[in-house]
């Protein structure tokens, strides 16, 4: 059984967050930490202007990366999970590459792919790719032989097995991997957006506001990035709840 997050507990969390922020701002009393009473109205105002465009640019990059990574990693993971012999060959390589922080390839990707959006998306996609690859492979490999056999005995061939067993069996793990890696993805996005672009929250926070000491505006960017992370997290979480109904029974 997993613990569910309720709307009530989320509201309490948000209230506590802003309360602590306000307290810290009052105690510190320096321009680098403006009060949420200043930042939140400013955020609401600029979100439908300039800030909104930066927010959209960042969201688009993360979503594209998630989509590309999932579409590539899920089939490869399934294949590896179903073919232990192939997995034995490439498994050691994956084990080595998996823990390497992919952000270090940032300059390489910039040089190879140019300063387009594609290079930023690729970098994030690579991070998510390995997360999903590993969980899908492990889930597919962990399916009991009896389960496969009994579904085959109902007439299922490869296609039906994929549709009715492998897909639903790995989907929860894919979602969990996405939910967990979305934080890392946004962190990397923050760094990748600091240069070679005109739009994106990373650019907005570091270049447009921080470097010119516009602290309240900088905080609206920070809030935007926080909001992006939180919304993606809960979006995936809500899909998980729907898909994983069987894990919450009893």
């Amino acid at each position: 059984m997993k613990k569910r997050v309720t709307i009530g507990s989320t509201c309490i969390g948000i209230a506590m967050f802003f309360l602590l922020w306000q307290l810290a701002a009052m105690l510190l009393a320096r321009p680098i930490l403006p009060s949420p009473l200043v930042v939140v109205p400013l955020f609401c105002q600029s979100f439908f202007g300039e800030l909104g465009l930066h927010f959209l640019a960042s969201t688009g990059r993360v979503m594209a990366a998630i989509l590309i990574a999932t579409m590539l990693a899920a089939p490869v993971g399934l294949a590896l999970g179903q073919m232990p012999r192939l997995d034995r060959v490439v498994g050691p390589l994956i084990a080595i590459v998996y823990p390497i922080p992919k952000i270090i390839f940032l300059p390489v990707i910039y040089v190879l792919m140019g300063i387009t959006d594609l290079s930023k998306i690729t970098l994030i996609a690579i991070i998510i790719f390995f997360q999903i690859l590993v969980v899908v492979r492990d889930e597919a490999a962990g399916l009991k032989k009896e389960l496969i056999l009994s579904v085959r005995s109902l007439g299922a061939g490869r296609r039906a097995l994929f549709r009715y067993v492998y897909l639903p069996a790995t989907l929860p793990a894919v979602l969990t991997a996405l939910r967990v890696s979305v934080g890392t993805a946004i962190a990397v996005l923050f760094i990748a957006e600091q240069s070679l672009t005109q739009y994106g929250l990373g650019y907005y926070i570091v270049v447009e506001t921080y470097q010119v000491l516009m602290y309240p505006e900088m905080y609206t960017g920070i809030m935007g990035m926080g909001l992006l992370g939180v919304s993606l997290y809960f979006l995936i979480y809500s899909i998980e709840l729907r898909v994983n109904r069987h894990l919450y029974v009893g």
């Binding site: 009994s150 579904v151 005995s153 109902l154 007439g155 039906a160 009715y164 029974v249």
Partner: protein, 269 residues
């Protein structure tokens, strides 16, 4: 009329040791068979061969006159592990075979060419078997919420919903507690009496072999060539399981099995 004709079957394990050599057997339509023998005798292998999940090295297996080269849509298989999808409800699990048939359409390979396609009648069929097996009220539950016996009932429902003409069961009740096992043995006996379906049940339990099989095939753990078949009119006599006749049949069967069991050399390590 023979439902299953096994003709000069040859099958070896992966390590080259022979399980079946020139093994021939006829199973009549509507007969309830059990297969028993020591572990390693090839009971499950024989069942998998009949199910078309394994291919014989030589010889043929015919079902209803047709040579089996792959899993056959009208053969129903129930395994020891219920094999229910954990993320699907009882209802969805019971419908899984129908869903798969619908997915492929009547191609004669994954589903029979003359398969029922009317959704209302299929729905009725699902309801019927769930109710018949006493799990009609549990349709919206997930397998994790059921007892072991209920899960196995759901697995049986899933198979019967497909309207099989041959039912194969591999130790279907051996993971269950004794009272539940007996209950399900009764259920299957009633089912056989009502439906007259040809069935083969693999078991390692002597009593179960006597309770479920009108014919009992005894396999040995050496090479099986000539089938050893016991005619058993005590099938279904669950309430008589303490009668002298029943106990005598069990001990006879025990001796027959012992006679076909080769003592394995002690493991050397």
């Amino acid at each position: 009329m023979a439902m299953i004709e096994i003709d000069r079957l040859v099958f070896k394990y992966g390590d080259g040791s022979s399980l079946f050599n020139d093994f021939s057997l006829l199973i009549g339509k509507g007969e309830a068979w059990t297969i028993i023998g020591p572990s390693g005798c090839g009971k499950t292998t024989l069942l998998s061969l009949v199910a078309g999940m394994l291919r014989p090295e030589r010889g043929t297996i015919r079902i209803g006159g047709e040579v089996i080269t792959r899993a056959r849509p009208r053969t129903g298989l129930v395994l020891q592990d219920h094999g229910l999808l954990p993320w699907a409800t009882v209802r969805q699990n019971a419908e899984l075979g129908l869903t798969i048939r619908k997915y492929y359409g009547p191609d004669g390979v994954h589903s029979p060419q003359d398969m029922e396609a009317d959704p209302d009648r299929l729905n009725e069929r699902v309801e019927y078997w769930l109710d018949w097996l006493g799990i009609g009220d549990l349709q919206d539950k997930f397998p994790a919420e059921l007892s072991r016996g209920q899960r196995q009932r759901a697995a049986i429902a899933r198979t019967l919903v497909l309207d099989p003409d041959l039912l194969l069961m591999d130790e279907p009740f051996s993971a269950l507690d004794a009272p539940i096992r007996e209950e399900l043995q009764k259920v299957m006996n009633t089912f056989h009496a009502e439906s007259g379906l040809t069935s083969i049940t693999v078991t390692h339990d002597i009593e179960e072999a006597v309770v479920l099989g009108e014919k009992i095939l005894v396999l040995g753990n050496g090479v099986n060539s000539l089938p050893v078949v016991i005619d058993n009119h005590l099938r279904g006599a669950i309430e008589k399981r303490n009668d002298p006749e029943f106990l005598l049949r069990c001990s006879e069967l025990k001796m027959t099995i012992a006679a076909h069991t080769v003592a394995l050399p002690p493991e050397s390590n």
